[in-house]
Symmetry: C2
Amino acid sequence: MSQLPAILSRLDADLDTSLARLSSWLEIPSIGTDPAFDTDTRRAAEWLRSDLEGLGFKAELRETGGHPVVLAHRPKPGAPHALFYGHYDVQPVDPLDLWANDPFKPVVKEIEPGRKAILARGACDDKGQVMTFVEAMRATLAETGDLPIGLTILVEGEEESGSVNLPGFIKANAAELKADFAMVCDTGMWDRVTPLITSTLRGMVYQEVRLTAADRDLHSGLFGGAAANPIHVLTKIIAEIHDEAGRITIPAFYDGVHEPTNAQKAEWADLNLTEKEFLGQVGLKHSVGERGRMLIEQIQSRPTCDVNGIWGGYTGEGSKTVIAAKASAKVSFRLVGDQDPAKIAAAFHQFVRERLPEDVTAEFIGHAGSPALAVPVDSPVLQKARKALAEEWGGRVVSIGSGGSIPVGGDFKRTLGLDTLFVGFGLDDDRVHSPNEKYDLSSFHKGQRSWARILRALAS
Amino acid sequence: MSQLPAILSRLDADLDTSLARLSSWLEIPSIGTDPAFDTDTRRAAEWLRSDLEGLGFKAELRETGGHPVVLAHRPKPGAPHALFYGHYDVQPVDPLDLWANDPFKPVVKEIEPGRKAILARGACDDKGQVMTFVEAMRATLAETGDLPIGLTILVEGEEESGSVNLPGFIKANAAELKADFAMVCDTGMWDRVTPLITSTLRGMVYQEVRLTAADRDLHSGLFGGAAANPIHVLTKIIAEIHDEAGRITIPAFYDGVHEPTNAQKAEWADLNLTEKEFLGQVGLKHSVGERGRMLIEQIQSRPTCDVNGIWGGYTGEGSKTVIAAKASAKVSFRLVGDQDPAKIAAAFHQFVRERLPEDVTAEFIGHAGSPALAVPVDSPVLQKARKALAEEWGGRVVSIGSGGSIPVGGDFKRTLGLDTLFVGFGLDDDRVHSPNEKYDLSSFHKGQRSWARILRALAS
């Protein structure tokens, strides 16, 4: 334990060097969704493999149906063993003209007085986050010649493409991935000075519905007033999904949703998330969520439904007097607690079918389905991590749910039986997936220090 | 009058020649909406101008802001004077691979036993229809050396582009276009053996509505459950436009809609238009129109609302968990009686605005607005035309409303003070605007004979 101050001092002293290392990784345009960048994407994997090898890991690129997984092992017999997850692929960069700098020529600059950040695609999501962990290992090794726990590092290249090959890879290599717990560094802080351990992640059901009425597009002058219009049918169905109180009306939808404890409610109230603060940043004023629920509960711990896309008929310039034959929508549900994705999908199909006039038929395409994930917040691993974070950041650590879905946590749980520690240092204004993505230097630096502390804490 | 049999015999004898003339006009790809065909479109205008000049008309191409108008005069002092309208532009031809022949290489073939047609883009809409009138004039001139009435021929090249320059042209040339009545040949028959005089045309209000919520697209994992989703708002508004009985709920929408007379109802009942016959042809079974109204009333004499297009959010392959910033729809209303397009548009705006949550704003773009048009069915012109048609087709002539909108009739009425005789020989299965457009030879041939009879009848 007495080695920790030296490790932290080394991280402080090496910040510029670690930034330079991150920059050289960020310079590789690993846009995994675009085949034109396949060579670069593999180069980014190789960059990390080589770096991990330099830290004494047995590190390989392992082939999947798509981009390779960087898999690295550094066992430590007798010590706890952790499986660390991140991803080396990044989002596409368009629209390019909205970037202040070349997204693959990282720039460090002061974004407001006293606040510096590194700007590049992937600066936060997820290269910057992964490197907080790698730098913590590097400094620990440099000072102590060893790591406090055994580690398997799994960094994939398809997170931005829906991790299509990852569940299969985890299944096929379950024995090799054996560990005591998992750690994922792909989440955010509560605010710039308060770390966050994500305690729950919402699940997801994503369904595309396609309605068909007539066997061709019709002229509204000839058929208007008689022919079923699938856009009308679709809008009516969507309009009925929510009631006036913001609740979802699909029968049995709330089965498996648990009410929060009083302690949970008190913690939420204490966080005091306001509409002005949260919605104000995107130009909105009022939550449209379930009446009688705190805003933070609405976005993190309640199930929701959003139509993510809708289309039908004529959508070009000007006017066309058509009654479309088809109308479609993409509808997603965020799940919590023990909601069952298969039952929710079936209930949605039934909800739609019951509302179809005789002349209209529906087809469904299921795009995703995963249950919600809860982390046992009282587990020793989380308690140790919480204490380590508190020491680094000055006391307060928030442990709440995330509204998003990180399916890999579910795969670790179901396939490997592992609980996951979700710790990350992203901020709300990091613009991940958007132009001018950045990662605060405080996130990068104190993130490294946080992991150094957590690694040591987990060994005890 | 004794000259009529000779004129009709000549039309019978000259059918192949007249078909050859129509073919040579159809070969000119006058796709007025596509600038790549501008030269061809003008060539089609010139083809007609030249043909009319050959019939003794003073015929010119008159420039507009777009494609020229073919304008031709053949006055006859002391006789009634008619203004005849048609159009020489045609619809685009895609998807080209669905055509059985090159759309601009007309083919005459037997489409079912005993039924021949000419297949080409524009065969019906509107070159074939225009030529029924021109051939009737040609035969009359050949047999008698004169025409029974004075005529002005106005054939435009922008009907398929919304006739954007026509109202201005009519206004600017009102004195020159002076006539006793107008005739339009761009409508259909009741069925293959029953001619139709269109007695009313529905008006139109076409509005595009664009809703905006947040100032950017949002991640549904972060904001789902709180942020207003403009697709939800739009679908809810659209769902509320119709009530359970198929009526439109916009306040004062039905102001100016008149109930049919008992005579009108009896005529409709006599036509016995069934759902099976009308909707069956497009794969539908049941009318979704206003309860308690006959099908024919729903599609021709009642006002309607159809959403012609809707779009918002992610509409590509797969899934994207976005809450869109914007959602849009194109909404059209067919008007009847004395409904006021400006009032309907304003009432629709109000209807939408009243349903917007505080965080959502609406913009509107008006694409068209024209009142309904009624033809005085008891006028001498219509009575004479009806008698002439009855003589040609064997007795039965239907005179009912059309569900469509032909704005030029309104311009003739408002700007020139003229009532219009709408007679045409299109059939429901002519596939106008679609691949494999055709015009039955019976339409083409008996259409010519019909006009020859009408021309003589109108002189009396």
